[in-house]
Amino acid sequence: MATWKKLEFDNYETTDVLAKAKELDLSNDNLLEMYQTMIRIRLFEEMADKLYALGKVHGTMHLSAGQEAVAIGTGFAVKRSDYLLNHHRGHGHFIASGADVGKMMAEFLGKDTGYCRGHGGSMHIADVTANNLGANGIVGGGIQLAVGVGIAIQMRKTDQLVLTLFGDGATNEGIFHESLNMASIWSLPVLYLCENNKYGMSADITRVSSKLPFKDRALAHAIPGYYIDGNDVLAVYEFIKNAADHIRSGKGPVFVEAQTYRYFGHSKSDRNLYRTKDEIDYFKTEEDPISRFRNLLFAAGILDEKRASEIRQEEEVVIEKAVEFAENSPEPDVTKLTEWVYA
């Protein structure tokens, strides 16, 4: 079992939901929307897993169940006009940004109605017109694009930022340093968000990284760096909102490492040999972000069992409809195979 060092987090644990919500100008409806979307992500990932087990998905998938708080906390804190550079475990972030789960499912099944017309699959899912510049199959792939997007925002003088997502493993890629260096010297509006779920593919991140927490790496590039609890959704939200404001005011990039955990293996071929069942169970029961938030909402009287159950059922229907849409969608046209090689 990996050593779980509870370092001091830079964000503030949510104890009183109502107080925090008031501070953050979030209504009860906002809170419930956040909760409902977290459920949607969880159910989506579970359904994706099931579809894969039924042999309906060609290739593999990287599921983010357990990381919903980071997705929702960040996704709700940034604006729709901000650019998103997603990573390969990005279904949650995509859903948090308002994606249509039907088109997502269709893309996994390789259908013509998917976000990428069946040409990209789970790892390359994108919605360019909605400023979602895609999930990336290359670890750190988005990190390199981030600088360019930041340059464009800066030259156009808008108040956008580019949210660049990556995992703990990506911080060891050369591009991580090249990108932070450039963003720093030019003060680019990049929000570097590292989701540390403790493992690269199978390697315990503490074993393969020279310096933890990663915020020190950011500091090495003169970029403010932070380490936050990624499983406290409102704490994430609060922190990211502040970071975004900092960036929008022209003060340059920010690096945030959010600590979280994933329940499913890295990909579908992962047999979880590198961690124990006990560890997984521990996080599922003690640290689960959805449970934590739900308990807080119960305590605040915003949510009760009955409504929670209804929400779950509503989202089950949403996911079922998405699957139905995807399964009934047509395949892409083989004769148009080379149509999008060149513009």
């Binding site: 990336n136 694009l145 360019g148 340059i151 464009a152 090689v341």
Partner: protein, 328 residues
């Protein structure tokens, strides 16, 4: 018509497009006050400022990645690798991001970037600063590869490359920078994907690019005096290749010789020859199709060894004579 150098032609193409379109900007190492390693961007910082003539750290990977990212959101970046050899550091964002974004995202993205690549040997820069790597780039679907051989072609093609909505690798041969040629002052551009017959002939077709065009033309002129008529076809764009012009030429002459500085094995001469073999021109071949290319060796430092590693005029002439006298 005024005569300017190949270097100046590239410079002019960039500044003219940057004046016309404010989304065009230049990124690269030492392109600012230094004016670029080969002097191509001299004076540009003063005119356009540091945002648009953006000098970068030594981070080829991030330079190309940034260009791809900026292009994806609607800018038109021109990224420069100081030497073509360094594109190897940045193959990932070029091949995996820029080349594939449009396709992977179902036709909903465009990446209108240009990657300028000074390449080629002959300056004594040795193995890691002298390569001609266009064959590798041609192999990646989604990228266009352009290789001008004259000042006129350089300016016209670079303007088209900047305006093209696809990622374009623009290969400049270092030895050509100082070569002068007639270039109009009025606005013009040369479409990508169109070859040019630089010298008409009827006995044999040479397909060649970059500095080898100059060498081939010199040989063609020499042989003309002897009554040997060589047609020199300059594809100008290597990907997509204008196979139609090449096929027509070979159909006419019945003989083909492909000459390039890039290494022979896996070099694009094989691509040209295979394309011709698959075409109706096959029926009219009167000699085996041949190629003259860089030897399968890293470029050596010693001057003589360096020259021996790539085709020279004497080699081109000897090969033509051998083909015409049915030695193969």
């Amino acid at each position: 018509m005024p005569e300017i150098t190949y270097r100046e032609a590239i410079h002019d193409a960039m500044i003219e497009e940057m004046r016309r379109d404010e989304t065009v900007f230049l990124m690269g190492e030492d392109i600012g006050t230094y004016g670029g390693a080969f002097g191509v961007s001299a004076g540009m910082l003063a005119e356009f400022g540091p945002e648009r003539v953006r000098e970068t750290p030594i981070s080829e990977l991030a330079i190309v990645g940034a260009a791809a990212g900026a292009a994806m959101v609607g800018m038109k970046p021109i990224a420069e690798m100081m030497f073509m050899d360094f594109v190897l550091l940045a193959l990932e964002p070029l091949a995996n991001q820029a080349a594939k974004a449009r396709f992977m995202f179902g036709g909903k993205a465009t990446v209108p970037m240009v990657l300028r690549l000074p390449g080629g040997s002959g300056t004594g820069a040795a193995a890691q600063h002298s390569q001609s790597l266009e064959s590798i780039l041609m192999h990646i679907p989604g990228i266009k590869v352009v290789a001008p051989s004259t000042a006129y072609d350089a300016k016209g093609l670079l303007i088209s490359a900047i305006r093209d909505p696809n990622p374009v690798c623009f290969v400049e041969h270092k030895l050509l920078y100082k070569v002068k040629g007639e270039v109009p002052t009025e606005e013009y551009s040369i479409p990508l994907g169109v070859a040019e017959i630089k010298h008409e002939g009827s006995d044999l077709t040479i397909v060649t690019s970059g500095i080898m065009v100059q060498k081939s033309l010199a040989v063609a002129k020499k042989l003309e005096a002897e009554g040997i008529s060589v047609e020199v076809v300059d594809p100008r764009t290597l990907q997509p290749l204008d196979t139609e012009t090449i096929i027509k030429s070979v159909m006419k002459t019945g003989r083909l010789l492909v000459v390039h500085e890039a290494v022979k094995t896996g070099g694009w001469a094989g691509e040209v020859i295979a394309s011709v073999s698959e075409s109706p021109a096959f029926d009219y071949l009167d000699a085996p199709m041949r190629r003259l290319a860089g030897k399968d060796v890293p470029i050596p430092y010693n001057r003589n060894l360096e020259a021996a590693a790539v085709p020279q005029e004497a080699d081109i002439e000897a090969e033509i004579r051998a083909i015409l006298s049915n030695q193969y």
